[in-house]
């Protein structure tokens, strides 16, 4: 038995410059937060991204800043600002850019915002009785409505038109009924006319407008959890990142599928499709739909010619999937000629066999690692049991956090390893980058990559073996030995993963000339947890939001904030209704007292409150 004083604590073993977070109990929570924060390396990362959770409750507040920016700069009403933002996908910077390039008038007319200065001023009472040119009825001028574009129809026809459009899923772009009129209808008029007829549809209209901030916005996305947790995630900065929602769902922000780095989104999409060839749904979607080139929703062709229009308004060619204009004349064909025959068909048959062998090679290894990952998840239970036994043992070692840290490292690196196989399949295959690299270059790079992959693989297997050992039966010296190995291996593996990502980013993907593939940067701690609104924020901030919230609602003339919010708030008694774990519900209920998390705060402020 070694000398008492010489007994090393776990914190002595770790290398200080690595700042890896293997902490013993003696550190308090605060210090741990600071260290975790440092380890995340947000400060030194150049391609940083900060994510935050938008719940149903904070959705309204989240939109306000973007709306306010546009309203102030362009002196617009809230509804016009919303129309503009919906059209330009809530990209404020792009609107500012286009304002310079195109000028105000063009910017407005393209989005369907009516320029108020051009409005023809005539009093409605001048036509009495008024003949509505939709239903051809003579009606009194008290039941007609003139839209801002100057077109005037009876309220009955307007209401019918709105309801048809809302039911058709076009709430965000209800255009005027006049032929070729591009103007978007005044949302206040839609609201009042529709709610008089059918409050349910009016409420749906309201909700769809509100959710536009998520659905028409490249920086905000719904959490893809099933059943849906009701949250959306907003990312500031680089959108190539992997995030974790407060519901525990980890996903790639870019494509919303599971976190798949170091595969790029395209590689992962191709890989998943390849792996589930037999899946009927995917088959149906690939056969019958094409993704819209603007919003990427799958679009089904329901008749008509090959010029297809997506619900988002984008027109595209059904044959090649490329975006086109809507206008075409006899002589000028907007866009493209997609009827050209590509003659690589012939060679494909010969190489099909080789290609299949190659796929099987990578798929088997990918599968082996994902299977190991599944089995190792069971290991967690076993290890917790072993720790419990060890901690009750009469021993000098009381801290077993290194086991769990090692296990988490194992999970993360196992995941990286499994995704590195589909990556290699596409990186060094012909499918994506055939023209990018010469065969010699490919060989060279493949060797470099495979060396790194092998190194990582052997270390991961070693770690897995160490963690599976029955350390609860070991003597103290053996446990110490085991602990040292686990901690050292963990930091080696972490470094290797980082190196592999750097190699992929700098040596493999960066030199590509034609294709652009981006991957989420390596995070030593796994996908970043999105910050959620919490009681840590100061009271002043909450009051601030209350004021913003109140004033905004008044401006839009909509129902009182309390009423509006209650439509989206899950009732606190219905546990599990949203399919969330009990811990998550508890957190949410706690935070309902504090009104709203201000998503408009600059990132630094949010970060500070975490430290």
């Amino acid at each position: 038995m070694a000398d008492d004083e010489d007994f090393p604590s776990s914190s002595d073993v770790e290398e200080p410059e690595d700042a890896d977070c293997y902490l013993s109990d003696q550190y308090d929570d605060n210090a741990e937060n600071v260290l975790q924060y440092l380890e995340d390396g947000r400060q030194e990362d150049c391609n940083w991204s900060v994510s935050s959770v938008i719940t149903r409750e904070s959705l309204l507040a989240a939109q306000k800043e973007d709306l306010r920016k546009i309203m102030e700069l362009l002196a617009l009403s809230e509804q016009h600002a919303r129309t503009l933002l919906i059209h330009y996908r809530w990209d404020v910077e792009r609107i500012f850019e286009l304002l310079d390039q195109k000028g105000k008038d063009k910017l407005f007319s393209e989005a369907g915002v009516t320029n108020l200065e051009n409005k023809i001023n005539h009093s409605l009472s001048s036509f009495n009785p008024f003949t509505c040119s939709i239903c051809f009825e003579d009606v009194s001028c008290s039941v007609i409505t003139e839209m801002e574009c100057g077109h005037c129809y009876c309220n009955e026809c307007w209401t019918e038109h709105f309801i048809v459009k809302i039911n058709d899923g076009q709430s965000r772009r209800i255009r005027c009924m006049a032929p070729k009129c591009n103007a978007i209808c005044d949302e206040a008029i839609v609201r009042s006319l529709v709610s008089a007829r059918d409050p349910d549809i009016a409420e749906r209209f309201e909700r769809v407008l509100l959710e536009s901030y998520i659905e028409d916005n490249d920086k905000v996305k719904w959490c893809p959890s099933v059943p849906h947790c009701g949250n959306a995630i907003r990312v500031m900065g680089d959108i190539y990142c992997e995030v974790e929602c407060t519901c525990g769902m980890q996903f790639c922000f870019r494509c919303l599928s599971e976190a798949h780095s170091p595969c790029s989104c395209l590689m992962w999409e191709l890989w998943v499709k390849k792996c589930q060839d037999e899946s009927e749904t995917v088959n149906w979607i690939t056969v019958n739909t094409k993704p819209c080139p603007k919003c990427h929703k799958p679009v089904e062709k329901n008749g008509g010619c090959n010029l297809v229009a997506c619900i988002c308004g984008q027109a595209f060619c059904w044959l090649c999937g490329g975006a086109t204009g809507r206008d075409h004349t006899w002589s000028t064909i907007t866009g493209h000629s997609c009827g050209r025959f590509k003659e690589d068909r012939v060679k494909r048959i010969e190489s099909a066999r080789r290609e299949l062998d190659r796929y099987m090679h990578y798929h088997n290894r990918y599968k082996a690692h994902t299977d190991s990952l599944k089995q190792e998840s069971n290991l967690k239970e076993t290890i917790l049991g072993k720790i419990a036994i060890s901690e009750n043992k009469d021993s000098r070692i009381k801290d077993y956090s290194w086991v769990m840290n090692g296990l988490n490292r194992l999970f993360r690196s196992r995941r990286v390893l499994s995704y590195s196989y589909p990556f290699a399949f596409y990186m060094f295959g012909d499918e994506l980058f055939k023209d990018e690299m010469t065969p010699q270059e490919t060989d060279l790079k493949q060797n470099l990559f495979e060396d790194q992959q092998q190194q990582l693989e052997s270390n991961v297997e070693k770690l897995s073996m160490l963690l599976e050992s029955d350390f609860q039966e070991f003597s103290d010296e053996e446990v110490m030995e085991n602990m040292k190995h686990v901690i050292n291996l963990s930091s080696v593996i972490d470094r290797l993963c980082k190196q592999m990502y750097l190699c992929i980013e700098n040596e493999l993907l960066y030199p590509l000339q034609r294709a652009t593939h981006n991957i989420a940067p390596y995070k030593s701690k796994g996908p970043e947890r999105a910050s959620e609104h919490s009681s840590r924020f100061t009271k002043a901030t909450n009051e601030d939001i209350d004021v913003q919230h109140g004033s905004a609602v008044n401006a839009s003339g909509s129902p009182s904030p309390a009423k509006r919010l209650s439509q989206f708030q899950p009732s606190s008694s219905s546990d599990g209704k949203h399919g969330c774990s009990s811990t998550k519900r508890a957190k949410n209920e706690g935070s309902l007292d504090t009104p709203l998390f201000d998503l408009n705060m600059p990132a630094e402020v949010v970060d500070k409150s975490w430290t």
Partner: protein, 164 residues
């Protein structure tokens, strides 16, 4: 149910008005002859004359209108009953690809104006969005003569009274 009934009545009333308008201005547009089905106001047929200086000149083409209950908020479905060789008309079914019958529909259009738009489409085909690829390809490759003679042949065969 109430909404449905309401739509139904609104569309019926509007179609009735259109019917009266058509009767009143029968001579206003001699190229178009709109007829409503005797027993069903949601079924219409139209006879339109092929526009002059086109391969369709001299032909009379029959259109079938099927009107949805939510008309005029939704567009009528129109197809050619007479065979026609045109890039934007399906050769077998007679389906027409015309923006105002799809997403550019406005409730202010009438059956009469739809007919006028179809006549305009006959005079100005849009070969980039073809339903009839053979016809579209002839035009896209610049073979105006080939297109013209094919269209002319089908006009003679299908849209003109048989000689003798």
């Amino acid at each position: 149910m109430i909404t449905l009934l309401h739509d139904y009545q609104a569309s019926r009333a509007r179609l009735f008005k259109e019917y009266k308008e058509v009767q009143r201005e029968k001579s206003a547009d001699p190229d178009i002859q709109l007829v409503c089905d005797d027993s069903n106001i949601f079924k219409w047929t139209a006879l339109i004359k092929g526009p002059s200086e086109t391969p369709y000149e001299g032909g009379v083409f029959q259109l079938a209108f099927s009107i949805p209950e939510q008309y005029p908020l939704l567009p009528p479905q129109v197809r050619f009953l007479t065979k026609i060789f045109h890039p934007n008309v399906h050769f077998k079914t007679g389906e027409i690809c015309l923006d105002i019958l799809k997403n550019a529909w406005s409730p202010a259009w009438t059956l009469q104006s739809v007919c006028r738009a179809i006549i305009a489409l006959m005079a100005h085909p849009e070969p980039d969005s073809p339903l009839n690829c053979d016809s579209g390809n002839l035009l896209r490759s610049g073979d105006i003569r080939g297109y013209y003679s094919m269209a002319r042949m089908y006009t003679r065969l299908a849209a003109m009274p048989k000689k003798g």
